[in-house]
Symmetry: C2
Subunit: 354 residues, 2 copies
């Protein structure tokens, strides 16, 4: 069968999502786990990854989790994925988890339990196979939904980035170097369906498109179609917004690092506090920074001391900024219950307290 333009283009997009292969032709193939439900999205992904595997020096493994949520249909999905993998000559791992039971035991929703079970399963398959890459079939329509959902809930530029094409492993409770690749993030659902037609793939009904959370379901089936009345290209608009937010945040992170390098002062050797518990910053340089960088550097100081700055309130940062910017003021300010700022005339010190 002749390869259509769409098939060629989509495969090139998928190939480009992987880190460039090693230059030596003798290099060991890189194992990549493909999460496959059996629906159109993941079937398209699997077909494309298998097709580009030789040129990208990839060794794909297909992984399927049976959530036991839909009785015989779920068993049939698993059989379908197994036969698809066999036809592709690709190893296949299938596991069964009673998600409803787990949700009841852990007092979480079915959606949360299913997601956790899926990522735990994928991480285990990857670890057993010595793989450092996992791919999922999130696509441009999913991305538009994610951006819109975050917009509605309230977000800044970090949230507007949506899902990342190459992200650290999403379950932070697992210590891992695993990377999550989303090669279809710029491909629309309509293109995926056309790919499946062009390749004569016959996907199963994708249950994961039904059983998602209530809000996402409404956004997919009501809000996005409604917004298309205002702009038929709304999905592409949201995907582009995610792209531009990603690049903007890169600049902001870079600017924060540059500012930090100019601000940070070595801890005085005679000071009793070790560098891990106290950070000395040049107040005069800090005062010259734009508001946003004043906030970002205070937040970064808390991150350095505590590992994260989730509890840091906007109002506490603004109060600290007021004192640090008023030329005469010196003294002590609380950023958090256990993080204080000693304000000197030329230097201020962010430190753990108590």
């Amino acid at each position: 069968m002749a390869q259509t333009n769409l098939v060629t283009r989509l495969r090139a997009e998928v190939a480009g999502a992987f880190p460039a292969p090693a230059a030596q032709p003798t290099a060991t193939a890189r194992t990549v786990i493909i999460a496959v439900s059996g629906g159109a999205d993941s079937l398209c992904l699997a077909d494309a990854v298998v097709a580009v595997a030789p040129e990208q020096n990839l060794a794909p493994i297909i992984a399927h989790l049976n959530h036991q949520l839909r009785g015989e249909a779920a068993d049939a999905d698993a059989d379908f994925v197994r036969r698809f993998a066999e036809a592709c000559l690709v190893p296949c791992h299938i596991a069964v988890v009673d998600v409803a039971e787990v949700a009841a035991q852990t007092h979480t929703s079915i959606e949360v339990a299913a997601r956790q079970a899926r990522y735990a399963f994928l991480a285990k398959v990857a670890a057993d196979a010595g793989a450092s890459l996992v791919t999922t079939a999130h696509h441009a329509d999913d991305q538009a939904e994610t951006v819109l959902m975050r917009l509605l809930r309230g977000t800044g530029i970090a949230g507007l980035r949506g899902m990342q094409p190459c992200a650290p492993w999403p379950d932070s409770t697992v210590q891992t170097n695993l990377k999550l690749l989303r090669p279809l993030l710029r491909t629309t659902r309509a293109e995926i369906e056309r790919y499946c037609q062009d390749r004569n793939l016959q996907p199963r009904h994708d249950a994961s498109n039904d059983d998602s959370t209530y809000t996402r379901n409404r956004i997919r089936h009501e809000l996005l179609p409604y917004l298309e009345q205002y702009n038929p290209g709304i999905r592409a608009v949201l995907a582009r917004l995610a792209d531009s937010a990603t690049h903007d945040l890169e600049i902001i992170d870079y600017a924060t690092q540059q500012a930090w390098a100019a601000l940070a002062q070595p801890t005085q050797p005679h000071e009793p506090r070790s560098a891990e518990n106290a950070i000395r910053l040049n107040r005069q340089i800090w005062q010259t920074l734009p508001q946003g960088l004043q906030r970002a550097t205070l937040r970064f100081a808390v991150q350095q001391l505590k590992g994260e700055a989730i509890d840091l309130k906007y109002s506490a940062v603004e109060e600290a900024r007021d004192v640090l910017n008023s030329s005469a003021a010196t003294g002590e300010i609380a950023l958090l219950a256990d993080v204080r700022v000693d304000v000197g005339a030329k230097v201020f010190c962010v430190r753990r307290a108590g």
Copy 2:
């Protein structure tokens, strides 16, 4: 009548929107033009500005343009504003423009013609009075609509900022130092209506809330109420997004300037091209910048040469980046028909061509 909490708070917000008054008690009062339609928004604004004028050392002037779009009702609006100004002991300028006629003559829409006529009138009143400040009554609900309208149309972080509380004069064809202040940009329409009740102001029906463009009208009367089903606080969410985008863009502008200072090289004295027609940049430093700053600095170079970079295409910037980032490549690239880049090993030169 006792002053309610809302009246006190809203006036403090309005007072804070003006640049701090000069310290000397003998300083001349600063003239400020208040655009008043007679509707709730602008009546609230005028009442608050007049109230804070003594402490802020302001000399307010009320300005009203009769668009002649609604016959007798429009004349009654003008009378109403004149009487309101008299009661406040504030000078009042009223002018009449046949907006429908202007629109027909200039082949523009009524909305565009009305907006142009309004800004031209306000600029004239300001010039005649020697004023450098004009205030309008745009509020938080207007801001939410603006942000949402831009989101739907497609925008990056610059567009997400929405309207600015203090902006250069919006009509760039007028050479002026006039500033446009929007003191009510964080005040909701509901708060404005309560203010009018608390102050016993009886506004006219605000025609400007009806005659706005079709899209804005639908966003106001259909989309925003619909989105409130997803998040009742959607207007506040959009206003906060505008705020955070404003601060983020400040950081990006600052980072671009810092990068520029590190990149820009003096033009060699023996070179035939003058500095205005050619900009030499350090290629090695440029290569270390994050993608977003590579784009921003190329764009900035074009702005320096041409005054603006509106025609610069994303694809042309990406092609230039490809060449500049590949270590071996030297030669010439076109950014625009009349702007080229000479790529040397360590330095590249953005210059006007032809």
